[in-house]
């Protein structure tokens, strides 16, 4: 690399952000598969892992690398409308429309996992760790909503994949940067600031601890994870 020239690419998505993305992309199909094949211990474990990833992503949205921060990609309705009217402006992270689609997916995932925590199966044999706070009937109703909201999640995932395909076909690279983290440097945009390792360690520890506590049924006793 010559001394003067700025690098052609920037680190857009830091490693934690990419890991969260791809782990969720793997665990959502696995959750569906384990539920339909009645491997409920696996289904619960997958749900707890997604819960931890969501909590981490929420924290990372405030303290993570520049590309992952909510303040970078969540903009007001004016910016969204302006973007929809005439695309073309360069954005460091998600464009104003894509940012809200990410927020919608994170919200739908949070709803899906939260409902699962309270769900009870038809026979009272399998249940989420917080179902002890609701009756059998309420747990059953929540399980039915858990099934319905999965379709909402699927719709948002379909929209996400469709949008990625749309931009890829128009020549914008979206998929590769989510793998390597690096994206072409757009004119006039600085490299996003990187989060320090300590921020990652603290966020990961907090997310794991909170998810563990919830998975235990809001208890501190070990051994209830199954």
């Amino acid at each position: 690399m010559s001394g003067e020239a700025a690098p052609q690419t920037i680190l857009l998505w830091d490693l934690p952000t990419r890991l969260v993305h791809w782990l969720i992309a793997l665990l959502v199909p696995f959750s569906w598969w384990s539920a339909t094949h009645e491997h409920l211990p696996w289904h619960r474990l997958s749900g707890y892992t997604i819960l931890a990833l969501l909590i981490f992503r929420l924290i990372w949205g405030f303290v993570g690398g520049g590309g992952a921060r909510f303040s970078t990609f969540l903009r007001g309705p004016g910016a969204v409308i302006a973007y929809v009217r005439r695309r073309g402006a360069a954005f460091l992270s998600h464009n104003p429309l894509g940012g809200w689609s990410v927020a919608a997916m994170l919200a739908a995932l949070t709803l899906q996992v939260s409902l699962g925590l309270f769900s009870v199966d038809e026979d009272g044999l399998e249940a989420g760790p917080l179902s002890k706070f609701v009756s059998f009937d309420v747990g059953r109703s929540i399980a039915r909503i858990h099934h319905l909201t999965f379709w909402l999640l699927l719709a948002l995932i379909a929209l996400h994949l469709g949008a990625v395909a749309f931009y890829e076909l128009r020549g914008s690279r979206l998929t590769l940067p989510m793998v390597t983290g690096r994206a072409a440097r757009a004119a006039g945009l600085a490299e996003p600031r990187r989060a320090p390792l300590i921020a990652f360690l603290l966020a990961a520890a907090a997310a794991a601890a909170i998810a563990w506590f919830i998975a235990q049924g809001l208890g501190l006793r070990a051994g209830a994870l199954s």
């Binding site: 026979d123 249940a127 059998f136």
Partner: protein, 156 residues
């Protein structure tokens, strides 16, 4: 939950079970479906409360005993919840499949298996042997599921 409340729940459940036993006498098919569903829901609630204890890793002896009692009583009465005429032809929405009445021997065998497993569970619960209860729990779940997989329509 207080011991008294649990006792009251058990009494209510027993009353429902007795009603289940009296089904053959004079209930319409649709009424029999409704009563069966009420009984199954009560069994599901007992099952939920029981398996919650097992999953907690530190079950409460009192709760386990009471719920195992309920499960055992329901399992014993369960075959009487399926009088002829309470299948899909009853006109009430039911997941009970016609195969229940087409293969009465297989259905009775599944019922006996459930009753046997529930009796073992109850005995362990009465003895206050939590390790034996936990060891027996999967066999009970398998007896529930084994019957449902064959004789009940999948939900929705």
């Amino acid at each position: 939950m207080s011991r008294l409340k649990l006792r009251a729940g058990a009494v209510g459940m027993t009353a429902a079970l007795l009603a289940g036993g009296a089904l053959a006498a004079g209930l319409s098919g649709a009424e029999a479906v409704k009563l069966r569903q009420t009984n199954m829901k009560a069994l599901g609630a007992a099952s939920k409360a029981f398996f919650e204890q097992i999953r907690s890793g530190a079950p409460d002896k009192g709760v386990v005993k009471v719920q195992a009692d309920k499960i055992e009583a329901a399992a014993k009465a369960l075959p009487t919840w399926f009088p002829s005429g309470s299948g899909p032809e009853a006109g009430a929405k039911t997941g009970a499949l016609p195969i229940i009445w087409a293969q009465p021997d297989a259905f009775a065998a599944a019922g006996r298996r459930l009753a046997d497993q529930a009796a073992k569970l109850d005995a362990a619960g009465d003895a206050g042997d939590l390790a034996a209860v936990a060891a027996q729990a999967p066999a009970l779940g398998a007896a529930c599921k084994g019957c449902h997989d064959k004789f009940r329509a999948p939900e929705k």
